[in-house]
Amino acid sequence: MTVEEPARSRTISVEVNGEVYEREVDARRLLVHFIRDDIDLTGTHIGCDTGNCGACTIHLDGQAVKSCMLLAVQADGAKIGTVEGLAPVDGELSPLQQSFSAHHALQCGYCTPGMLMSASALLEQNPHPSEDEARTAIQGNICRCTGYVNIVEAIVSVGK
């Protein structure tokens, strides 16, 4: 076994939406910047600098996490899901995505990727969430346009 010594950069391998990426990254690089700037998946957004807003929410090994509070090197070996991987087939939308549109659960659409990732993580564990459960699932996602009303409806109705 090799002895681990600290280094300022590291080669990591991550699987993102089923595709494997191997890159050398600075230890200080945030995962969200790796996703957006290094592998060009710009659907994952940044809305704050303190981990409050959830616009950068992704799935890390199946769990919703905020990619701005994680270093890219911490994701080494992980399976990552981003909003770009939500639609089952290119050009078609998942029931959740369709529901967001049908219920007008998005206006500017900036928080939407994070909302969808939080909501889809909920629906995987709990396919028929109540309104309270839906609200709790997105408590870490800030939306400044919708007042959440239609987002909650969109999530709940997928389970109905």
Partner: protein, 822 residues
């Protein structure tokens, strides 16, 4: 008064509601739910550098020196820019005020002095984002701190002056005197006075922060800004002269914008810095603002004090008028100001029929972040005052708040109604909206609910917020501040064309940030051209190169449903006429016999073959036109500029039609207050909206939800608080708490449609909401606290600690108010 002496051009509502009025799926959604939206920070260019600003930690200080040597020495740093360079290479931005405000010198970076915490003093550009920040930390700035002014009430005394060139902290001041206040006082039974009310500082904090990718083309001297500015027409008016270039050298491109709410209108100082860097370094530069930067140094809403409020009222609750001193705090630089010193006058009378209004208005600079129009801009502050007046007067005279309002509302039979300052309320039924709102929150059971809550240690209260969302500015009101200004009227452009394969292509001058313009424009075009909205391709965003923008292009001031869609309708009407003309020529039929339907131009009730698909029309004009007569030159490509008619303002009397439409929002809510802690919970909430003809009811309702959530945040949590040294204490989402999903109650909505007689589609601009939620939450808190010593809600923000203080010491708030016989 139910007539008006202003000439008003009205257009009949001639459209059948086909797609208009339907909540069709939004065109924008498909890309956005897949993460395929294109926001400015998603745009990349080869060799681009990242910009990081060096910002002042001080609120007020002299800049003694700036040393960028260490930053430049760092590997990967492309270059820097400082205020000294800016002062040489640019001119100060144009100021709209008369002196003293007119003499303020506002540059892209601080020159000589910093005037608010977070003000950019230098910019660094480097190969990566991280390196740019590393380098920015190496820039050494020596400051000599100066006395700090954070309180407008102190600033107005001019003991310390922010802008030596102006010689005063006053930007603008003036008296507005409409009706006859002295006569109102004489007629009144009582005069209620309120010493001081405070409308606090907050902003809508769009989730996407500001930024841009700026490219410079050496050969042409052309800058392209891939950005999220949502009023680029006015942005260019500021930037081009400062950069000493022509307006055509600034190309603004926006695609998707992550919320704006007015907060992305004053980006010109940042953008000029980026333009200078792109030119100096000869490479594209990207700047992404971070949240803390946005809170500390971008755009706050106007903070306003109201002093010595006097209200003339009859014993039966009839309001005759009011007299107030308003003191507006615009932060360190006026920028979009002093427009806020007049915009409120669009709603000077609020929803009420009082005829005597006197406002002594002063605006000052302080060592805080500059303001920018923020959802409900300037009207919200004033409407909060009118609603506070109604509730405070009502409470002091023991009058029922519902009766008080109904007695004094402008009545629907008075519409169109001319206000004391010459504005014209186009249509509406405030009392009916209020009834619907009260019904939604179960007003008739409120006494029982109060009793029940008392048993649980809670204080329950009900509140009402009556607001007008005035839309489609008449920029002529700027002349009431400064008669020299050459702005008046309003306009917006759009183009509609039929292309070679039958594509209908629409370009807009507006700059949407979530309002669904692509969708609603397609509905209007589809109804005019007789096709499905799916066949209408509305180009995403704004591009100066579309040639579909006018001087006031942008998305602001609740106007798209009037100006934007007015332009779209105008262009589509022109195209329709030409398509009919062309089809008539081809089908050898009179024009009256042609109809456009189902994507065809065809002879009404004619045989199936007497029909031309749109593709045929497009192909004929664009590719197969030899057979057309020599004197027939259809283009199938039309540009229309919509221009509302206002007439001129009266600069002497300070009157005029300051805006075109008035949407109504009546909010009502029920709150519970924990007596022990002051914690406020909203337990029921209803918002009733009347914006005339709704093009897309779901989008309208979405705007109502959003405006309400902003109001809930502002009324309970969101407050830009500065300490005495000018340090912002709420610079992030921990301390500046915006509503989370669990904070927003299930919102009930209602709507009526009072079509506007003044607009092309009978629609009215909406979406800003006039802060209805703030007014009604303040109203409800005051009602709830009534059994606890009848405190007066004197501030627009009531976080728990303030509510608790009111519970502890109601008297200190009561001493603010007095009632005297007139």
């Amino acid at each position: 008064m139910s007539t008006t002496d202003t000439d008003i051009v009205t257009a009949p509502v001639e459209l059948q509601k086909g797609h208009i009025g339907q909540s069709i799926p939004r065109k924008e959604d498909k890309r956005l739910v897949q993460g395929q939206g294109i926001f400015f920070d998603d745009v990349r260019r080869h060799g681009m550098g990242y910009v990081h600003f060096v910002r002042s930690p001080h609120a007020h200080a002299k800049i003694v020196s700036i040393d960028v040597a260490a930053a430049l020495a760092l590997d990967g740093v492309y270059g820097t820019l400082t205020g000294d360079e800016v002062a040489i290479q640019t001119d100060p931005f144009f100021e709209m005020s008369t002196p003293p405000g007119a003499n303020i010198k506002d540059y892209a970076l601080a020159v000589g002095k910093v005037r608010f915490m977070g003000e950019p003093v230098a910019a660094v550009c480097a190969r990566t984002r991280e390196l740019a920040r590393d380098a920015a930390e190496l820039v050494e700035v020596e400051y000599e701190p100066l006395d700090v002014l954070v309180d407008a009430r102190k600033a107005v005394k001019n003991e310390t002056v922010l802008h030596d060139d102006a010689g005063s902290n006053v930007v603008w001041s003036g008296v507005f005197d409409w009706g006859d206040w002295e006569a109102a006082k004489a007629e009144a039974d009582r005069i209620v006075t309120i010493d001081e009310l405070h409308f606090h500082r907050f902003s809508s904090t769009p989730l996407e922060c500001s930024g841009a990718l700026v490219e410079y083309e050496r050969a042409s001297g052309q800058w392209t800004l891939h950005c999220n500015h949502h009023m680029p027409g006015v942005g260019a008016i500021w930037m081009a002269p400062a950069l000493r270039t022509g307006i055509d050298k600034l190309r603004f491109v926006t695609r998707d914008i992550g919320g704006g709410f007015g907060n992305k209108i004053c980006l010109h100082p940042y953008y000029v810095t980026l333009c200078l860097l792109a030119r100096k370094l000869n490479r594209p530069v990207n700047w992404t603002e971070w949240r803390t930067d946005q809170h500390t140094a971008n755009a706050h809403g106007n903070e306003r004090w109201f002093h010595d409020v006097e209200v003339a009222v009859k014993d039966d609750g009839t309001l005759l008028g009011f007299n107030v001193k308003a003191l507006d705090d615009c932060g360190a630089f006026p920028r979009y100001e002093p427009l806020g010193c007049i915009i409120w006058a669009q709603v000077a009378a609020g929803c009420y029929a009082w005829r005597n209004v006197r406002v002594d208005f002063t605006q000052v600079t302080t060592n805080k972040a500059p303001v920018s129009p923020n959802r409900g801009y300037s009207r919200m502050q004033h409407l909060w005052l009118t609603e506070r007046i109604v509730d405070i007067v009502g409470a002091e005279l023991e009058l029922d708040p519902v009766e008080m309002r109904k007695r004094n509302y402008v009545k629907t039979e008075q519409m169109p109604y001319e206000t004391p300052n010459g504005c014209v309320y186009d249509s509406g039924d405030y009392a009916r909206c209020l009834d619907i709102a009260l019904d939604l929150i179960g007003y008739d059971t409120i006494q029982e609910r109060k009793l029940e809550a008392t048993g649980r240690g809670k204080l329950l209260g009900i509140g009402i917020g009556s607001t007008l969302d005035s839309g489609t500015n008449n920029f002529g009101q700027s002349q009431l501040l400064n008669p020299e200004l050459q702005f008046s009227g309003n306009n917006e452009a759009a183009t509609v064309k039929l292309d070679i394969f039958g594509e209908i292509v629409v370009t807009l001058g507006t700059v949407p940030q979530g309002q669904g313009h692509e969708t609603t424009a397609s509905q209007v075009v589809a109804d005019i051209l007789g096709c499905s909205p799916d066949q209408v391709n509305v180009r995403q965003g704004h591009d100066t190169f579309f040639n579909s923008n006018a001087g006031f292009s942008g998305t602001y001031a609740s106007q798209f449903a009037v100006t934007g869609l007015g332009a779209v309708k105008g262009a589509a009407d022109l195209l329709r006429a030409e398509m009919i003309q062309l089809a008539a020529a081809v089908l050898q039929a009179p024009e009256e016999a042609i109809e456009l339907a189902d994507g065809f131009a065809r002879i009404k009730d004619g045989p199936p073959e007497a029909a031309l698909p749109f593709m045929a029309l497009g192909a004929i004009v664009n590719a197969n036109n030899a057979f057309l007569p020599a004197d027939f030159n259809p283009t199938l490509n039309h540009r229309f500029v919509y221009k509302p008619y206002f007439g001129m303002v009266d600069t002497e009397k300070k009157t005029g039609q300051l805006t075109l439409t008035y949407a109504t929002q009546i909010h009502a809510c029920v709150v519970e207050i924990d007596r022990e802690t002051g914690v406020v919970e909203i337990v029921d909430y209803a918002a009733v909206d009347d914006c005339g003809v709704r093009i897309h009811p779901q989008i309208v309702e979405g705007q109502v939800h959003g405006a309400t959530a902003h109001a809930i945040g502002a009324a309970l949590f969101e407050d830009f608080v500065y300490d005495e040294d000018g340090q912002l204490l709420t610079s992030n989402f921990y301390d500046y708490h915006v509503p989370h999903a669990l904070d927003v109650p299930a919102l009930k909505t209602g709507a009526i449609e009072s079509p506007s007689p003044f607009t092309p589609l009978g629609s009215k601009g909406m979406g800003e909401g006039g802060g209805g939620g703030i007014h009604c939450i303040c109203s409800a808190i005051q009602d709830a606290l009534r059994p606890a010593g009848r405190p007066i809600v004197y501030d627009s923000c009531n976080p728990y600690h303030r509510v608790w203080s009111m519970l502890q010491d109601p008297e200190s708030t009561r001493s603010n108010v007095s009632v005297a016989p007139a």
